[in-house]
């Protein structure tokens, strides 16, 4: 995969729009809108860099990747120093981690792994829809998503009327031109395009223009999610976690990638105000990386990783883990952090908590009644 292309740093903001126009305002006041934000970390996030464990064995495996200035969470775990916001939120019970977790996928291909992380299936390419899309469908949430990417991510497929937004340097024609085009569809039988043009024209003007950075995009997303009529589901897509070489420690490639994650969380927290209380942010990656460093001071594709979580819908600050240990015999195939928690249990529990749908229904409708566990009460405020 192409890991040098930092998609979010390209282009400029042109447009943005809301969905879910038909939700009455008073409904939102009685029952505050709950939001879920998924940040895809493509390339394979190194859980041991993001959330290092306090274990002397680590220096035996990866002497060139040891972190200084770690941000302590508890006696056993710390955060990478670039995850400053997450650390601050931790002290307010607004951040948590699930560690030694992954999709049940052990083959180490980005290609298959990313397919599985999005479909939630046991085998790559066996499903054409995403677990989040199916979850929304199960909860009856239509037109409630916003993908911050141009092609609709596989993760959201499976439910109708998804929206997406992605910066482009190009500008729209003048409003009157779009109006003329829209009118041209009058009387054209059953053409869904007219509805799309109407959606495009109903974007608030304040959401046009702006600059091209992830900083700007995540700030805008905060405003969109804050809107009681806005979407409830947002999906960010970050690339570049595939650090085979010069992975770095406090600084370096993996550190910069983590900083991007922290930036999204920071902007959502700052921008959403009290609505952050009704929000849950979770990361998603295809696999972790080898415990041992490779010849290029990087790491290879592995298995177990970590899920970073933030938001007011968390039950409390915690590192939720059935920690497998780092002794050679404890590692998966003698090389990777073992995954002891099927991450689908976490995502299913999160959807159950945010969408207010029983866990068993999600388990059935989204994950084919496979053997996943209900962590809703342990991890989330329900």
């Amino acid at each position: 995969m192409n890991c040098t292309r930092r998609s979010f740093l390209k282009g400029s903001l042109a447009t943005i729009f809301f969905s879910n126009f038909n939700v009455p305002l008073y409904g939102s006041i009685i029952n505050p809108k709950k939001n879920i934000v998924i940040i895809s970390l493509r390339g394979g996030m190194d859980g041991l860099t993001a959330v290092p464990v306090n274990d002397n064995l680590i220096s035996h495996y990866r002497s060139d990747l040891i972190l200084n200035h770690k941000l302590k969470l508890n006696p056993d775990f710390s955060l990478h120093p670039k995850l400053k916001t997450l650390h601050t939120l931790w002290s307010e019970n607004l951040a948590a981690v699930v560690h030694a977790t992954n999709m049940p996928y052990t083959e180490r291909s980005h290609f298959d792994g990313q397919n599985i992380m999005e479909t939630g299936a046991l085998k790559a390419y066996t499903e054409k829809t995403g677990w989040l899309g199916r979850g929304m469908k199960s909860a009856g949430l239509y037109g409630s998503s916003l993908a911050l990417s141009l092609p609709m991510p596989l993760l959201l497929r499976g439910v109708e009327k998804n929206n997406n937004y992605y910066p482009t340097w190009m500008h729209l024609p003048k409003r009157e031109v779009i109006e003329r085009i829209t009118r041209a569809y009058d009387g054209v039988e059953q053409d869904k395009l007219q509805e799309v043009y109407n959606v495009i024209m109903n974007r608030p003007l304040t959401m046009q223009g702006g600059d091209e950075t992830l900083d700007s995009l995540s700030k805008r997303t905060a405003q969109i999610l804050k809107d009681p009529l806005g979407p409830k589901v947002a999906v960010f897509d970050l690339e570049g976690f595939d650090t085979h070489t010069a992975q770095g420690t406090v600084n370096g490639e993996h550190a910069e990638n983590l900083q991007d994650v922290d930036l999204i969380i920071k902007n959502l927290h700052a921008g959403m105000g009290s609505d952050f209380d009704n929000t849950l942010i979770l990361t998603l990656t295809e696999f972790g990386r080898t415990v041992e460093q490779n010849g290029g001071n990087g790491t290879e594709h592995g298995y177990g990783s970590a899920i970073l979580m933030a938001g007011g819908l968390l039950k409390k600050s915690q590192v939720f883990s059935d920690w497998p240990g780092l002794k050679k015999g404890n590692l998966f195939q003698g090389r990777d952090l073992l995954s002891t928690i099927d991450s689908r249990s976490v995502y299913a529990s999160a959807m159950s908590a945010v969408f207010d749908v029983e866990f068993d229904r999600i388990k059935n409708d989204v994950f084919w009644n496979e053997d996943i566990k209900d962590f809703s009460n342990l991890l989330f405020r329900v």
Partner: protein, 485 residues
């Protein structure tokens, strides 16, 4: 139906062209021979591109990573240079420019449309560096010449190509009882090897039978066994970019049982081992489910999202009558479109929409076309990259489908607001790539519309209302008549 048909099976016609007197004959006559590329400069071969791919991954993975392991900036800098000198940045733009040149200037535009169809049917999705180096040339060398052969020959060529084998990981598909499988699995320090079903599954699901054939997981496993041994020749300096060679030491012995039929090893002598795949593909390629699957996909591409039996069956019949000869399958498809197309308005995927606009309006955005340009060891300029950039902006980077099933030819896939915004915005910019020798006045649009639409009245009226010059392009391109063909 006469004029609409030209947009349904091709890209429409330019203002200088005459409407063919018999559009069906016009279309059908385009399929007997493979048209040449108009590009005058020399085009890279697949072997050359495989070498370049190999050089790029070897230098990056084995040399630079070690050399700069403590200095990421130096690593990035040298990698950037490597990108330029290997053409990692260049060839995607080159291939897309070649593709668009032929689409717009060839005398066989219906053939070009069909070529695009097969490229997507046998999609190489975005994986590693395939899009950068080899997907374009794979479509030129593997798919295109086989479009006058049988479907069976086309499937076999695709299945045994380096691009598809690499794309679907068949090198990792190793017979557990093969010589190499046994050897690797007896070494406790090495990772265990075994079957990898990826390629076998896609061969059955996408490239031949489709799930309608109700094959089982067991069939997939058996197919994977047949495919063991089909892999690149690995060497230290070329890594996975070596040539494809059937390697018996990785091959799982039969007999195999696929869809109830037993393929017994006794039928194949040692020399012929690799031919098992050919024998199985012969059956798969001519299976009734495959015929129907392919015919349906063709109708879905050219006619409507939910084709009916009356459209599909004539294509299947042509297939049966001519033993899967693609020339006849293509001609039957042209007839189906001619018979049923006028009842439907098929939503155009972004690239097709761009090409239709470019054809009708004479847009100029392909650098140096048709004389062409070639790779000279440096990075592409913005002019070189324009075709690629526009496709990227409208959400249709042809060689970068996210999944092996390619871009999905159903309108619901393409109706997301952001994707429609991109077409509005891109069409607004058409004014920057117009032909400087053309006066895009009302009369010009009138001529274009009359030549390309059977029912031009509404569109003519719409264009008359668009008095402001720059707006005309956005209005024309996003009109109901142009968004669908």
């Amino acid at each position: 139906m006469k004029r609409d048909y030209l947009r349904k099976v091709a890209f429409g016609i330019s203002v200088d062209e005459d409407v063919p007197s018999d559009p069906l004959v016009w279309a059908q006559n385009q399929f007997d021979v493979v048209p040449d590329f108009i590009w005058e400069k020399k085009l890279p071969t697949l072997d050359e591109q495989r070498d370049r791919y190999g050089h790029w991954v070897y230098q990056d993975r084995e040399v630079l990573r070690e050399k700069h392991k403590n200095d990421r900036l130096a690593y990035e800098k040298e990698k950037d240079h490597l990108r330029n000198i290997t053409g990692e940045r260049f060839f995607e733009s080159l291939e897309l420019s070649v593709r668009h040149t032929n689409a717009l200037a060839s005398h066989s535009p219906a053939f070009e449309r069909m070529w695009h169809f097969w490229g997507n049917f046998f999609a190489i999705s975005e994986k590693d560096f395939l899009a950068s180096f080899s997907t374009g040339v794979y479509q030129r060398e593997i798919i295109r010449p086989n479009m006058v052969n049988t479907f069976e020959e086309l499937v076999y060529a695709v299945t045994t190509s380096w691009c598809m084998l690499h794309h679907l990981d068949n090198a990792e598909n190793i017979g557990p009882n093969s010589k190499e499988g046994v050897r690797k699995n007896s070494d406790n320090d090495k990772q265990k090897v075994g079957l990898n079903e990826n390629h076998a599954r896609e061969l059955l699901e996408l490239h031949t039978l489709s799930p309608d054939a109700n094959y089982t997981q067991e069939d997939v496993v058996e197919m994977a066994k047949v495919m063991t041994g089909w892999r690149h020749f690995w060497s230290k300096k070329k890594l996975e970019a070596g040539p494809i060679k059937f390697q018996p030491e990785y091959h799982e012995q039969g007999p195999y049982k696929i869809l109830g039929k037993v393929y017994d090893i006794k039928d194949f002598n040692t020399v012929n081992k690799g031919k098992e795949l050919k024998v199985v593909i012969k059956d798969l390629a001519n299976h009734p489910s495959t015929q129907r699957h392919v015919a349906k996909k063709l109708c879905q591409h050219f006619v409507c999202d939910e084709p009916t039996d009356e459209m599909i069956i004539p294509i299947v019949n042509a297939w049966k009558k001519n033993d899967g000869n693609l020339v006849e399958i293509h001609k039957a498809t042209m007839r189906t479109v001619f018979q049923y197309g006028s009842n439907y308005r098929k939503f155009s995927m972004p690239e097709l929409w761009l090409l239709q606009n470019a054809k009708m309006l004479g847009l100029l955005y392909i650098y140096m076309s048709p004389q062409g340009f070639e790779f000279k060891g440096s990075k592409p300029s913005r002019s070189h990259e324009l075709v690629k950039d526009i496709l990227w902006e409208i959400g249709h980077p042809i060689y970068r489908a996210k999944q092996p099933n390619g871009y999905i030819d159903l309108e619901d896939e393409w109706l997301s607001p952001e994707l429609i915004i991109r077409r509005l915005a891109a069409a607004r910019r058409f004014v920057n790539i117009t032909n400087p020798n053309v006066n895009y006045d009302q009369e010009y649009f009138e001529n274009v519309i009359i030549k390309n639409f059977d029912h031009p009245d509404k569109l003519l009226k719409l264009m008359k209302e668009s008095t402001f010059y720059a707006d005309r392009f956005a209005v024309f391109a996003n009109s109901p008549e142009v968004m669908r063909a």
